[in-house]
């Protein structure tokens, strides 16, 4: 399949993928489709399985079961959880190595490298060792290196974690550019405000899908009702609460509209928090799936 053909694929992603690390199931029947030309986000808490899913997509990890649909290696750009760059090579040398490995013609590579470095604000640092860059600069270098060959599938594992807002903006400019160029971009992030920019979002928790869809769909499918209160609500049966923006969010799975506080319109952050709480409730009840919108699977990986 040529790169042009790869860009015309309907989606890249996984179908009912399972991955085990020893006796621990890291991914359990996860289905996630990333369409070309769009940014798709994978969110979830620590140990949710985001990195495992992205490693499967990027080709760094073989799934135990299920289908991984990805283009040929030359059409995949992958940024691992680190920056994936060589600290003892300069910015320019790192990118030159990547260009040579992907057999990008020298003139094209030079043009792209200059363009991307300029866009990311790294042009002045092109002769600096990658190991001497700040964390944000190194992440930007990693993203540029991953997208240098204009891949059909760009997989970025937490590219913006731990970096300043300005660098995040630069990185999102690069990511948006890659999507605009036709790549299916999959990004793992722990920042839900970033996930809201994505066209598709997958919420994972302990290796299972909690919610999947567009940010609006995930918010719309949120069960129950949500209120905001200045004081922590008394521990009423069935209520769950958490702190946000200096106030208390109170979720009532039963969906009653009465109670302390004002009703609030949930956003993605609320919906994801509720999805995780709903998953916990379902676990408490012994139910297999507790959230509308999650893909209900009936066949296990063990079969």
């Amino acid at each position: 399949m040529s790169t042009a053909q790869a860009r015309q694929a309907d989606w890249w992603g996984t179908t009912a993928v399972c991955v085990d690390y020893g006796n621990r199931r890291a991914l359990d029947q996860v289905t996630f489709h990333a369409p070309p030309g769009q940014v798709s986000a994978v969110v979830g808490g620590d140990g949710a399985g985001r990195t495992t899913l992205l490693r499967c997509l990027g080709g760094a990890l073989a799934a135990g079961a299920g289908v991984v649909r990805r283009p040929a290696r030359r059409d995949i750009g992958y940024l691992p959880a680190g920056s994936g760059t060589y600290p003892d090579l300069t910015v320019a040398e790192n990118l030159a190595f990547r260009a040579a490995a992907y057999q990008i013609p020298a003139a094209t590579a030079g043009e792209r490298i200059t363009g991307y470095l300029d866009r990311a604000g790294l042009l002045a640092a092109r002769d600096r060792l990658a190991g001497r860059l700040s964390g944000g600069m190194r992440q930007k270098l990693g993203v540029i290196a991953a997208m240098l060959h204009r891949p059909a599938l760009l997989v970025l594992d937490e590219p913006t974690t731990g970096i300043d807002p300005v660098s995040r903006a630069d990185l999102w400019s690069l990511i948006a550019r890659a999507a605009a160029d036709g790549a299916a971009v999959v990004i793992a992030t722990s920042y839900l405000d970033e996930a809201e920019r994505a066209s598709h979002v997958l919420v994972l928790d302990t290796g299972r899908e909690l919610a999947v869809g567009t940010p609006d769909q995930i918010v719309a499918r949120m069960p129950g009702s949500l209120r905001a209160s200045d004081a922590r609500p008394p521990g009423a049966a069935g209520l769950r609460s958490w702190r946000r923006d200096g106030r208390w969010r109170v979720w009532d799975p039963g969906g009653t509209t009465s109670g302390d506080g004002q009703p609030v319109r949930p956003d993605l952050q609320d919906a994801v928090t509720v999805a995780i709480l709903a998953g916990e409730l379902a676990g408490d009840d012994g139910a297999p799936d507790g959230l509308p919108g999650a893909r209900h699977v009936t066949e296990g990986c063990d079969e």
Partner: protein, 366 residues
Amino acid sequence: MWAMIVKEFRQLRRDRRTLAMMIVLPVLLLVVFGYAASFDVSAIPTVVAGPFAAQTQLHAPFELVRSAPAQREAWARAQLRDGKAAVAVVSGSKPVVLIDGSQLFTARAALTALETAARRSPAAATPEVRVLYNPGLKTSDIMIPGLAGVVLVFVGIIITSLGVVRERQTGTLEQLAVMPLRPRDVFLGKIVPYFAVASVDLAIVLGVGVALFGVPFRGSYAVFALGALLFLFVTLGLGVLISSVSENQGQAIQLSIMFTLPQVLLSGLIFPLSSIAPGVRWISYLLPLTYFNQISRGVMLRAEPIGPLWQPLLFLALLGLIVMSLAMLRFRSYLSPAGPAGRRGGKTPAPAAATAAAGTGPAGSR
């Protein structure tokens, strides 16, 4: 301080390899090297030529390996050159004893034994003694060809293992695994620079040895280069193997030392192989430096041609083949997508379930 001590013990307990090295290795090394550390030569392989070869009697430590009455001095010299004996006696009206000076300790033992015999039997005809290949019995002449091998061991094993394991530590190995590079290309790309550096190192060591210490280089450069090439293959392969079983550079160094130290002490570089206890000597024949020593001393000091060196060359080639194959296999699995550790009976879907387009496929396909 107590908290620090407890923390260190906890870390040490979890680093099983270091713990094993600290406890087991010293005992093991003491036993092995205790048996190896001996300069005493109890047997000197000797050939006898000339018309009175049959009548010539040898006394300990000289041990007859061949008697050839029809042969003369040229044959005896060839026997020494080809490493088939350390001493050659050419019988005749004026007997001559030829001693291979490239086997330093054996040569010294032979000279001592001859002097002792002369003192015991002053009436007997004193043979003419000639020390060949290293007439001055200079230590540098026999050490520098072997030290060239030690340099190659250091570069080949230690530096290579660090270079490869560094990729794992910086996380770039996973990046390489998903790039459109064949494992063979990555493997060769990793070792060729070390091969080049080791070759330059070798040339420098030999150049300095010849220029500064006056070590002779009497044999064929091509034969020496062939031996060095095969030896480098083994050491570079060992470096990659070590790196593939090491989690970090510290572990790689530990393992490298475990492979390097025995080579220095058991290869015949310092202690003569014949002086090493048989229970330990078999280890020597598993070490590539043992064979490189034979080649480098043979070529440099005795101008030994390729023919008699077929054995060490063959062993190096076999070791290289085994080690490189293992290293390549390990490296290939290193660069393959990591499989889940426990599949719990998970089944890969039938091909029909996977998208049939090129570049896609069942889980784990590349």
